[in-house]
């Protein structure tokens, strides 16, 4: 690693007089590859390296210690996690009340899994989320691949349309969707719910796919066509396989976003399409509830699984 590059000019190496050098070259070319040997100094020459790309200095650099920043940061991170930890803690409460600790027990977990209303609401949420995920992922992939080569104006317009649902406050979008449904004659129910979910899931699918596409060398696609793959074959055999980590990441995010949604679903539900967040909301409006502790802990687990999986996928750089 310590090959400091001398300023060696290859032509300054002594080969004796000119004609001997010419003869040597001729012998080498006749012998083939194995005859080529570089002089010592160049044998191990590495390509010149750029200056170190480390951005920050040593970790213990005193200059970077701003007072209290570390302490504050850890405190705030704790602030983010302690409430949820408390909820998880109380989900294992053996007592009848949500907050009065009466020993460790899984009774409430058992109770939740047999609670008809909760199970129904979860089922509804899952069905809606799965369908919305599938639809939004498909639409999102199609969108990203179609928009990649649009003109700047065209793609700006398109991305505004796609991301519109992220710019509008949820309460407004919720009531507006309800009004819109009413106007076009659809009764609130399963279909508009799924469609609305699909719509606000699309931006979350598009983002990681776009990010992933940017890391792929586009010359691969040209190479595929050069080697005889038609447009469709290139998409199927090269583009999509290479995008898989982004697609999976996007699908996971869409799933979570759909499962989490409250505001918009709230205005689109009927008796038969209560989703989990809506049901929980109605429960806790009346106060704390031990079943909700359990549901909360499980939803936290979902968030952890999705985030960790997504991070692992996007950080795998070998593809």
């Amino acid at each position: 690693m310590s090959m400091i590059n001398h300023d060696t000019d290859p032509s300054a190496i002594r080969y004796g007089n000119a004609s001997e050098f010419g003869a040597k070259v001729a012998r080498v070319q006749a012998a083939g590859n194995d005859g080529v040997r570089m002089p010592e100094g160049l044998e191990n020459k590495r390509p010149d390296r750029a200056w170190s790309t480390r951005r920050s200095g040593r970790q213990d650099n005193q200059l970077k210690r701003f007072p209290f920043v570390g302490f504050l940061s850890v405190a705030v991170l704790a602030f983010l996690y302690v409430p949820m930890m408390i909820v998880v803690f109380f989900s294992f409460n053996g007592g009848k009340q949500a907050l009065l600790w009466q020993g460790f027990s899984l009774r409430w977990y058992g109770s939740v899994f047999t609670n008809g209303a909760i199970v129904n609401a979860t089922e509804t949420s899952l069905i809606v989320a799965v369908i919305a995920t599938v639809l939004s992922t498909a639409l999102g992939v199609m969108y990203v691949l179609a928009v990649d080569h649009m003109s700047r104006a065209g793609s700006a317009l398109a991305s505004m349309l796609i991301n519109a649902s992220m710019l509008i406050p949820e309460i407004v979008l919720g009531v507006a969707t309800m009004a819109f449904i009413r106007l076009i004659g659809l009764a609130p129910g399963f279909v508009p719910l799924v469609l609305a979910h699909t719509t606000f899931c699309i931006p979350f699918v598009v983002m990681p796919i776009r990010a992933r596409l940017a890391t792929i060398d586009h010359a691969c696609f040209e190479a595929a066509e050069d080697l005889g793959a038609s447009g469709a074959t290139t998409v199927m055999r090269v583009t999509l396989p290479l995008l898989v980590p982004g697609i999976v990441s996007g699908a996971l995010m869409a799933f979570v976003v759909s499962m989490d949604d409250f505001m918009i679903s709230n205005f689109l539900t009927t008796a038969g399409t209560t989703t989990l967040p809506i049901y929980i909301f109605s429960l806790i409006r009346k106060g704390v509830n031990p079943s909700v502790n359990v549901v909360a802990a499980l939803l936290l687990l979902l968030a952890v699984i999705v985030t960790v999986t997504s991070t692992l996928l996007t950080n795998r750089k070998d593809k």
């Binding site: 920050s56 996690y81 408390i86 398109a158 519109a164 819109f180 447009g231 929980i280 939803l299 936290l300």
Partner: protein, 333 residues
């Protein structure tokens, strides 16, 4: 998809379309050059038309509803029940600012402006605290080693994806009369306090919800920052506060702008936290609008409120993106 000839090496050339016809000099017709980029699909990509389904559904379920709600705000309310009557009227907007008494006299009504004010105040407070807390965290995170940074980002992102109701519920649990905080207060001899169902609780909930929204964009802006600039500044004799102000803050500004926008806009229209933690007794924009479409059954008024909120947040988003753009340029992005 791109109208290709079959995969055959001896295919004779077939013009794929009008744009492929050449004149006697071998030139394509001039007009095709306008669409030249339109026709051949980039290798590995799809034809533009494939974006139509998603654009369509985006139009239908975002612009459509928005259009409808704006339209509804100019309509009249039926005598009974919900819905609207298709008759133009600006009653809804008038109601925002004025009230009519029994005799038909019109006077200025500040109640709804007060509601806006309350929401605005809570949102500003939330945003200020979130941004103030997020900045040191983002700074601290960006100075760690790459591996640790990945873990920290993971830790900040998990709350981001946890259900909003669940996160709000956590504070209901904590601030409850029988919850840990009051337990601690009783232990310290201060007796139970009414912490839940107050504006205080609502703001705490909002801060808790939106803190990751502030941390992530700031971290993103700072993680691209070359800390050798800081070393260079010290080398030139600057003191820590100066360095902080002139070098680091300037680089983080685009992230700060994003954080402000991402916190303020949803906080302004929030519904869950004021209702669950604030008790729903204080009227805020979120539950005001919701009630118009539920018990109050005044759809046009709810629509008018929504339109105003929409206008305010869109203006805010526009301002934030402009200032973010300016900040990016100043930061040398």
């Amino acid at each position: 998809m791109s109208g290709a000839t079959p995969n055959s090496k001896t295919a004779t050339t077939q013009p794929a379309g009008e744009h492929d016809k050449r004149d006697e000099h071998g030139e394509r017709p001039a007009w095709t050059r306008w669409f030249a980029s339109a026709h051949p699909v980039k290798p590995g990509m799809l034809n533009r038309l494939w974006s139509v389904p998603s654009i369509l559904i985006g139009l239908l379920f975002t612009l459509g509803p928005i259009g409808v709600i704006v339209a509804f705000s100019f309509m009249s309310r039926p005598d009974m029940g919900g819905g609207v009557v298709f008759r133009f009227s600006t009653d809804a907007y008038e109601k925002l600012l004025f009230r009519h008494d029994y005799f038909g006299n019109r006077s200025f009504d500040a109640r709804y402006l007060a509601v806006f004010g309350t929401s605005l105040w809570q949102a500003l407070l939330t945003t200020a605290i979130c941004v103030a807390l997020a900045f040191p965290i983002a700074l601290w995170m960006s100075m760690k080693s790459a591996k640790v940074q990945q873990i920290l980002v993971l830790l900040v992102t998990i709350p981001f994806w946890t259900n909003l109701i669940v996160r709000t519920y956590a504070w209901m649990l904590i601030l409850n009369e029988n919850g840990p905080v009051n337990w601690l207060l009783r232990l310290l001899g201060m007796g139970s306090q009414q912490l839940l169902y107050t504006s205080f609780a609502s703001v705490i909930g909002l801060i808790y919800t939106f803190l990751p929204f502030a941390i992530l964009p700031m971290y993103s802006a700072l993680s691209g920052f070359d800390f050798r600039l800081v070393e260079a500044a010290y080398d030139l004799g600057a003191h820590k506060p100066t360095v902080m102000r002139r070098v680091i803050l300037r680089a983080a500004m685009p992230g700060v702008m994003s954080g402000i926008a991402l916190c303020f806009i949803p906080a302004f229209g929030s519904y869950v936290q004021p209702v669950l933690l604030g008790g729903g007794r204080v009227l805020m924009v979120g539950n005001l609008i919701a009630s118009q479409f539920a018990e109050a059954r005044n759809w046009p008024f709810g629509a008018a409120l929504s339109t105003v909120i929409l206008a305010v947040t869109l203006l805010g988003a526009l301002a934030a993106s402009i200032m973010g753009g300016m900040a990016s340029r100043k930061a040398g992005a």
